[in-house]
Amino acid sequence: MKNAAKKTWVKVMCAFFALLFAALAGVSAGAVMNLAVGGVYSGGDYDTFESSMMQDRMNFDIGNVEANFDLGTGTANSSLYQQYSSVNSNFYYTVKDASGNVVMKNYNGDTSRAHLTRSFYAGNNTAYTIDGYVRRNLTANDGYRSIAAEAEWMYAAKGWIFATMCISIVMYFALLVYLCYGAGRRDGTDVIAASWLDKIPCDLYTAALLLLMYFPLAAGASNNMDESSLLYVFMGCAGAGEGLLFLLLCMTWKVRFRLKKWWRNSVVFYVIHWFKKPVCSLGRLIKSLPLIWKTALIVLAALILQLITYEDRNGFMWFLVNAAIALAVLYGAVYARKLREAASAMAEGHFEHKIDTSKMHWEFKTHGDDLNRIGDGIALAVEERIKSEHMKTELITNVSHDIKTPLTSIINYVDLLKSEDVQPEKAKEYIDVLDRQSQRLRKLTEDVIEASKASTGNIPVELEKEDMNVLLSQTAGEYEDKLREAGLEPVMSLQDGALNIMADGRLLWRVFDNIMSNAVKYALRGTRVYISSEMENGRAAAVFRNISASPLNISADELMERFVRGDASRNTQGSGLGLSIAESLVKLQGGEFSIEIDGDLFKAKVSFPNI
């Protein structure tokens, strides 16, 4: 059912039936209208002779009598007698003058049913009245008899007609919905595509369809259908036409809505779009003007506007007042520019920039002084901050150096103890613990120094042209044996050709060294460690991936913080500074360092602009 809606022949069939039902609905609606006017549906008796068709027909015949009424003689010409003889016609007429005297008639007193009276003024300015009658038993075989027969039939079928109308309308809308579903869909795909009809600007297309829909309505309203058969033909055509137009409208809008951004394909949008550019560039031009020029332009515009619109201007006084206002505004603009320039200098970090407030007045002076004070405050704060940062690094470095000396003794004597034959077996275990922990302390002190130096930029950086691929293969070579010992398999995939970057090879090796030693420490035994280089958006990137042995239930940002390690228990080796040092070192060289954690997959990426 759904797929059938995409087939062209199904669409054509459905459209054909839809139009058929629309036409049927039009015809039956015409009939219902006729019946309704006759009061069929509002209850009461139905009289064939009172039906609108009968009335219309009588009106036509009375008009005919009136047209053929000979004004000069006050008699009808002979064709009337012939036309309305009792053999030929069921229509009778009597023409009376104003005083009620019968001037002319063919009414012979037969029982009549319908009766219609119309008054008119003839050419000699005399009022006449025409009475029209229809013979009750309709002996003549004329229009009245067929109308009566038709009306009788319609009356008998009034329910069917109404039902036909309803069913036709329902069927039409059902087919409409089905066709709308199929609109834009092609056989074999689910993609909705626009046809050439859907590419017509939407407002233009809709307006054209609505205009076309208006015509039948207008025609129906203006045209008096005197022949009932004509009415049905018209109603049928109109129904089919309107049905077709409505169908087209619904189908195209469905496609347009589904394709999104339907407003982009409209004449209104094109016009707005066309005007947007010059308006925007004008706006940008005004925006880019210096403050004083901008102000001057606005003042000038205001003055011109005033000259044009302001009627009651008193020559000299008007000039004086406006000149004073313009001067005051421009004066304000000059100082506003000075303040603004000073503020943007401060925003760029030039806190020592001072505003000369000696020639300023009022609020401008206060504001300038305030800005100067803010600048002083920030400069002082920054200076203190730098000093304290520096002192912190100094302190950490010195303390670490001082720790190194006693640590040397500890390590040496532990080593000596190890070579002694210490008797209780337990003591050997204790010495092992001392050995392990003193080595850890050593690594920690070295890392603390390096971390503090790297984060404060206290390391000389010599940027040179390096090849990321060479460095990666060197790193992999250095770690090949250690990885194998840790039960890990390195997998290399390097981008073809040289990946030249500006970096300090020695520092970048320390970064890769840290990342790889993490892999050795924390990767799951028996998994692979991927080392690859990539090019993306003009950046050369080194990517390291490995599977963590313990679950990484912390975020990548946390992992990069100092003293944070991948294992919550913290009982493995390592200081938790490696990634923090790596990040700082990469930043020092102008690169980017990022970590991603996806389940147990740990991914570190170092990227530099490719040169």
Binding site: T408, S473, G477
Partner: protein, 231 residues
């Protein structure tokens, strides 16, 4: 028996070093500042000096400058400062080697041994056979395809030997892994990016005392490898 002068203001460190050095068969002289060291140098026969930099009174750098005025005995600096600038300063003033604290006792012994062998056995004027490639204490004999460090033979695989020879032929020049591969393997390095790096690592482990801080075979990160040009 060689006499080693150990000079550090930290008595515990001096004692520890004394234990190690005597254990290895060296005579040990103790000093706790620069002045004491100089006094001992004048009165005793000293074959090697282990000198701490940060000491009260006369510090290590000043003491070394004094020693160098009269003697070319090997001096190994012991330092808690691991900054590169300190190392360069120490080596420029006349140190032969340096060890950063906290040090590994085995490494100290290896360095002492290496310096002493060079100073006592090879000396400065030992005639070098022209066929041999010689850089510092590193010697490569192409005739016997053998390599020795400070007089001690080192066993290298043929591939490692070829790489070392290539690097020793042009000391001070950086050679990229790709070029090394092409010249040693004599084929294009496709999918064998880190083969050279692995071999270099192995060579370093064989010829260097501390492979992480090589004296001879240096890694120029991001570029290649080079043999340090040492006389």
């Amino acid at each position: 028996m060689y006499n080693v002068l150990v000079c550090d203001d930290e008595t515990d460190i001096v004692s520890a070093l004394k234990i190690y050095l005597s254990g290895a068969g060296y005579g040990v002289l103790e000093a706790h500042n620069g002045a004491e060291a100089l006094k001992l140098m004048a009165s005793e026969e000293v074959h090697l000096v282990l000198l701490d930099i940060m000491m009260p009174g006369m510090d290590g750098i000043a003491a070394m400058a004094k020693i160098r005025e009269t003697s070319n005995v090997p001096v190994i600096l012991l330092t808690a400062k691991s900054e590169d600038t300190d190392k360069v300063l120490g080596l420029n003033v006349g140190a032969d080697d340096y060890i950063t604290k906290p040090f590994n006792p085995a490494e100290v012994l290896a360095r002492v041994k290496s310096q002493l062998r060079r100073y006592m056995q090879l000396g400065c004027g030992t005639p070098v056979v022209p066929a041999n490639l010689c850089i510092g204490g590193l010697e490569l004999d192409d005739a016997s395809k053998s390599v020795s460090v400070d007089g001690e033979d080192v066993w290298l695989t043929p591939r490692e030997y070829d790489i070392l020879k290539l690097l020793m032929q042009s000391p001070g020049t950086v050679i990229s892994p790709k070029d090394i591969y092409k010249r040693v393997w004599r084929e294009e390095p496709i999918g064998a990016e880190n083969a050279v790096a692995v071999h270099i690592r192995h060579i370093r482990e064989k010829i260097e005392i501390n492979p992480a801080e090589p004296r001879y075979l240096k890694v120029v990160w991001g570029k290649g490898y080079k043999m340090e040009a040492i006389k």
